[in-house]
Amino acid sequence: MTSILVVDDSRLARNMVSSVIASLRPDWTIVTAASGEEALEIVGEVPPAAAIVDYNMPGMDGLALAERLKERFTGLTIGLLTANVQDALRRKAEALGVRFIAKPITSDKIRDFLAAAGQ
């Protein structure tokens, strides 16, 4: 069973990302969380195929979460989903080996991300 982790404090954003993934990969299980803390709690020990995490969240931000996820799952492909398209953030994401996905989300952006993740 292939799963993908989707983390965003906005329910609207979680629903949008989930519905795009469901249309592109109907057989995948989509695991959603509303915060970094919740994501780390529910993700368990089985590596997901990929993770898509929002940057701007209350509590742990998306980069901190990406770092924790990378510690747990070496080589996990992570996309940082964010409206914040500043170069400084882009560079931080690149330094962590995290792909940048600019909001608002579209089907094409998720398709490109999954293709880059080799999925």
């Binding site: 404090d9 906005s10 329910r11 609207l12 954003a13 949008m16 701007n56 969240m57 209350p58 964010t82 409206a83 914040n84 398209v85 500043q86 170069d87 400084a88 953030l89 600019a102 909001k103 608002p104 989300i105």
Partner: protein, 208 residues
């Protein structure tokens, strides 16, 4: 359009509240990046918060945050379209000098922004506020037009107001990475246009 079950026309359900915050979150992304490029420095943004509030309460909250009711500098502009209201960018005087000091030479002895500093803040406000309104317009598929924002300064109550009529209030805190300039982008929406705003959000969600 049917009102929420509570009968309170000001009450937004959780999905509407979440959608408003997310639309403003997306709306601020591009203009903050534009500002960051202009300043050569990262601009930190908070998660948007929103509430049904009053100008008097917003003055207390935001004024209290901004260095204990010291004078503030603001760039303000009305916007009209599917919904109407007022957008403001507010920084305390010292923060304003630090912010615009990235763009224009500021007299280190200056206590309050002079004409050149006011012009620079107005341009920053123009980029942030009209940029955000432009992104929102695209998201909701309607045109929101902002007046050219104007500069104002004074005590928070003089700038934000002290009226006690309800307004829908979206707040995004902004700070330069160096930490010497912290302010707020505020969007005050007229309650009379709240139904139009709800309708615009529904259209935006349907279009995603």
């Amino acid at each position: 359009m049917a009102e929420p079950a509570s009968g309170d026309p000001l009450r937004l359900d959780d999905d509407e509240a979440d959608a408003i915050a997310e639309l403003f979150n997306i709306g601020m992304g591009e203009p903050a990046a534009a500002l960051s490029t202009m300043l050569g420095e990262e601009v930190l943004l908070s998660v948007p918060s929103f509430a049904v509030s009053t100008r008097a309460r917003i003055t207390r909250e935001v004024g209290g945050d901004l260095e204990a009711d010291q004078p503030v500098c603001a760039v303000r502009g009305a916007f009209t379209g599917p919904f109407t209201g007022e957008a403001m960018l507010i920084f305390p005087e010292r923060g304003t000098l630090a912010l615009v000091g990235r763009l224009v030479p500021v007299d280190p002895a200056a206590e309050a922004p002079g004409e050149m500093e006011q012009d620079a803040l107005t341009e920053i406000g123009n980029i942030i506020l009209n940029g955000c309104l432009a992104s929102l317009s695209n998201l909701i598929g309607g045109e929101l037009s902002g007046a050219v924002p104007g500069y104002g300064a004074g005590a928070p109550a003089a700038v934000i107001g002290s009226a006690t009529d309800p307004v829908l209030f979206v707040r995004i805190d902004m700070a330069l990475a160096a930490g010497d300039a912290r302010g707020h982008a505020l969007f005050l929406l007229d309650i009379a246009s709240l139904d139009a705003f709800r309708e615009a959000i529904r259209r935006a969600l349907a279009g995603l």
